[in-house]
Amino acid sequence: MATAALRRTPLYEAHAAAGAKLVPFAGWEMPVSYEGVRQEHVAVRTGCGVFDVSHMGEIRTSGPQAESLLQRLLSNDVTKLEVGGAQYSVLCRPDGGILDDLFSYRLADDEYLTVTNAANHERDLEWFQAHAVDFDAEVTDALADYAMLAVQGPEARGTVSALASPELPPRMHTATVGLGVVDGLVCGTGYTGEDGVEILVEPGAAVDVWGRLIDAGATPAGLGARDTLRLEVCFHLYGNDMDETRNPIEAGLGWCCKEETDFIGSEALAAARADGTDERLAPFVLTGPGIPRQGNPVLSEGEQAGTVTSGTHSPCLEQGIGMAYLRADLAEPGTEIEIDVRGRGRAARIESKPLYDPKES
C-alpha cells in the first residue's frame, strides 16, 4: 500500500526539537510523547500540560439559517447554544450510526465553528455541505485557518492567564483573547477531565504561542497522555468507542441527544432509547494484574459477552482500565467480568463513570 505523505502541524519542528517521538495519526505526523507518557499524564493531573491538537479540523457554518442547519445535523439542542457558548453533540446517520462527535462554538448570532476529529473531517465537511443546500447557510472548511492547542490541568488557567488579556472565558464558553502578538479564540473545553482551555490561533502564530506557554510553565504532552487522560475520565474516542455501527444510546451519549429537535437520526434514537439496546458501552477496571487492549474479548461465565474498545494502564489508578461494549444486562457497575487478554483471563469489574475523578483527587 502506498503511504500518502503525512501532514504536519505548524509545530512539527518544535516537537522534533523537543525530542518528541512522532507517529502517524489520522494522516498526520503527531507527537505521541516527549519525556514519557506517565510524566506527561501526571503533569496534566497535577500542574499544566499543553497538547498540539492542530490535526483536529474546523468547519465554519454561517448565514441566516446557520442555526437551523446545525439543529438538523447535530444531536444536541443548538437553539440552547448562546453566542460565546460551547456545546457537545454527535453527528448521526438517519439510522442513528455515529459519524463523529463534535464541539460547536457559537461565535455570533449567525456564525458557528465546529471542531471535528481529524480522521472524519473530510466526511463531516461533505455531510455538512450536502445538507446545507436546503438552508440559507454557508458551510466552509476552516481547517487551514487554525492551529489548536489544548492547555489542561489544575494550573492551566493560571498558565494561560500569564499571556492572556482580557481574562479567560469560563468552562463551556468561548471568547477572543489576546495572547501576546496575536488574538486567539479561547474555549473552556478539553479532553482530559481537568480544568483548562483550548486555544485556536492562526497557524503562523502557533510557534509563538506554544513557546510562551512552555515559558510560562506548561509541560509539552503528546497523544499518548491525551489517550490515558481521556480514558481515566471515560471520554469517548471516535473509531474506538463509537463508529457508524453504534448509536449514541448504546454509546452512553444519550445525554447529548435531544430527539425533539428532529435532527437526522432522531427517529432511530427515539426507538433505541425506548426499546433499549442489545449492548452498551461501559467502563471497567482490572481487579488484578494485566492491561486490557482494544479488541480483547469480554467474558461472562466463560462465554464472550462483548469486546474491549479502549484499554490501557491508568497512571493515576495504577491498574488496567478500559471501556467495552457488552451485553446490556452486564453493563451495570459492580458486575464481575473477565477480559481475555491474549489468551489469559483477567478479572475485571464494571465501574461507573468516571473511573478517575479529578475533583476527588
Partner: protein
C-alpha cells in the same frame, strides 16, 4: 533513563533481545533500543520457572502504556530463574536493561545456537540500517 549502549560481551537477537552466555547457562533481556522504542514499561509478568523456551519464539511480554511487545528467546533451553522484582518495578527494564532489568536465566539445550546471534557491532549495524 539509561544511556544508549550495546555491551560488547553480550550476544544479540535481531528482535532486540540480548543474551549473556556463561557456558551452558545464559541470562536474557531486552536491548536499550527495545525499551526506548516501547517507552516506560508498566507491566511485566515473569514466565514460569521450568518452562521451555525456543530460539526465535516469544516467551514473555513487556507492556508500556501504549503497546505490548513480545520478548523473543535468543536461544533454546529451560528457564531456571526469573527476575521477580520486575513485577513490582517493571520500569527497572528501562533504567538498567542489561543489569537489574534482566528477565530470565536459562539452561541452554543447544549452546551452539549462539553462533547464529549477532555481536554488538553487527547489532548496531542492524539498528543503523533499519
Amino acid at each position: 533513563m539509561a544511556e544508549e549502549t550495546y555491551p560488547e560481551e553480550l550476544k544479540y537477537h535481531p528482535e532486540h533481545d540480548w543474551a549473556r552466555i556463561e557456558g551452558e547457562e545464559a541470562t536474557f533481556g531486552i536491548t536499550w533500543y527495545a525499551q526506548d522504542a516501547l517507552g516506560e514499561v508498566v507491566f511485566y509478568e515473569p514466565p514460569e520457572v521450568g518452562a521451555a523456551v525456543t530460539k526465535d519464539q516469544p516467551y514473555a511480554e513487556v507492556e508500556s502504556v501504549k503497546a505490548v511487545s513480545d520478548v523473543y528467546s535468543p536461544l533454546s533451553g529451560e528457564i531456571t530463574a526469573v527476575n521477580e522484582t520486575l513485577s513490582d518495578s517493571p520500569e527497572t527494564i528501562n533504567e538498567d536493561p542489561y543489569g537489574d532489568g534482566w528477565l530470565v536465566k536459562v539452561k541452554l539445550s543447544d549452546p551452539s545456537e549462539a553462533d547464529q546471534l549477532l555481536d554488538a557491532a553487527a547489532y548496531r549495524e542492524l539498528l543503523s540500517s533499519g
